[in-house]
């Protein structure tokens, strides 16, 4: 443990927070199950999501070719909603 972490832990031990309902704690844990060390940021995903969705529509196994994007989509509900909406557009308009 580094000094910064130690100071943080001591500081936090003086305060107790009751802000997390049980469901929220379980929600955090569900996300932790899928967590990886390395991950793309929201803006990296935004930059590449059009390419990712086109690959998916073309059945080119986008998740395998761009695994960091897939992992981010599993972790980030906002990016995932945008991905699903873009996928709907491309699939339903027959574009690509």
């Amino acid at each position: 443990m580094n000094i910064r972490d130690l100071i943080q832990r001591i500081k936090n031990s003086f305060t107790h927070h009751e802000d997390y309902p049980n469901e929220a704690v379980l929600g955090f844990l569900r996300v932790l199950e899928k967590l990886r060390e390395e991950e793309a940021s929201c803006s990296e995903v935004y930059t590449q999501i059009d390419e990712y969705v086109e690959r998916e529509v073309d059945k080119k196994d986008a998740a395998q070719l761009m695994p960091l994007i897939r992992e981010h989509l599993d972790m980030c509900p906002d990016c995932c909603e945008e991905y699903e909406a873009l996928l709907d557009v491309l699939e339903k308009t027959g574009q690509d």
């Binding site: 943080q8 832990r9 936090n12 031990s13 305060t15 107790h16 927070h17 802000d19 997390y20 309902p21 049980n22 469901e23 929220a24 704690v25 379980l26 929600g27 955090f28 844990l29 569900r30 996300v31 932790l32 199950e33 967590l35 060390e37 991950e39 940021s41 929201c42 803006s43 935004y46 930059t47 590449q48 999501i49 059009d50 390419e51 969705v53 086109e54 972790m75 980030c76 906002d78 909603e81 945008e82 699903e84 909406a85 873009l86 709907d88 557009v89 491309l90 699939e91 339903k92 308009t93 574009q95 690509d96």
Partner: protein
């Protein structure tokens, strides 16, 4: 509808003149063809705000496309890139509205609302399981308290407890969506490492809550 190459879109949109005006009209049609599908999980075309939202999003998308034209890298069809921009604009607006509405609902809802499923399971559990769950939750809460910085805690509360959209939470914390995601990712990594040190796996806790 005529189809253009990516290069033709860029060339026509790059400078003012009749070619740009024609391209903008075509692009408007492309956006408006796609938007109902993008919105289909959120809003039915029968709802009164549908048409005005489509119009606002189309206008804003066209402005943003012109503004960001030089950032198009050709990774996809130009029109897919444009749809991506329209989706971001539309969903940002809809999330904000959803969150505003749900906050209002919380203020006005009565106390007879049933507890969430996880808590229902707890009411049905035997005393031993119930005590074990309470003990485990207390351990996890202590770990959260000890491990996270104040800012990481604020982010978790805004997103995980209050369900605030990322864009709004980022604004509230005076940061951007990207930095907020990084803050959250670091917080989650810290929690995961600490849980591992304490020999707790997320799956173990979740399983405990799935038992009757």
């Amino acid at each position: 509808m005529p189809t253009r190459t990516n290069e033709a879109w860029i060339t026509d949109l790059a400078s003012p003149g009749p070619a740009r005006e024609i391209a903008l009209e075509e692009l408007r049609a492309v956006i408006q063809k796609g938007l109902p599908y993008a919105l289909s999980r959120w809003l039915s075309p029968d709802e009164p705000q549908f048409n005005s939202l489509v119009e606002e999003v189309t206008q804003e998308t066209l402005l943003r496309v012109l503004d960001q034209l030089n950032t198009f890298e050709g990774r996809s069809q130009f029109t897919t890139w444009v749809h991506k921009i329209a989706v971001r604009i539309a969903l940002t607006e809809l999330r904000r509205k959803r969150w505003r509405d749900s906050s209002l609902d919380e203020l006005t809802e009565n106390e007879d609302v049933p507890p969430p499923p996880g808590l229902l399971a707890d009411l049905q559990a035997g005393p031993e399981t119930s005590a074990e769950r309470a003990d485990m939750l207390a351990r996890v809460r202590r770990i959260i308290d000890e491990e996270l910085t104040e800012r990481q805690r604020q982010a978790l509360i805004l997103l995980g407890v209050q369900d605030m959209p990322m864009e709004d939470a980022a604004r509230k914390l005076k940061t951007n969506r990207n930095a907020l995601y990084k803050l959250l990712h670091d917080a989650r990594l810290r929690l995961k490492r600490r849980l591992s040190i304490e020999d707790i796996t997320p799956n173990e806790v979740l399983t405990l809550f799935e038992q009757k």
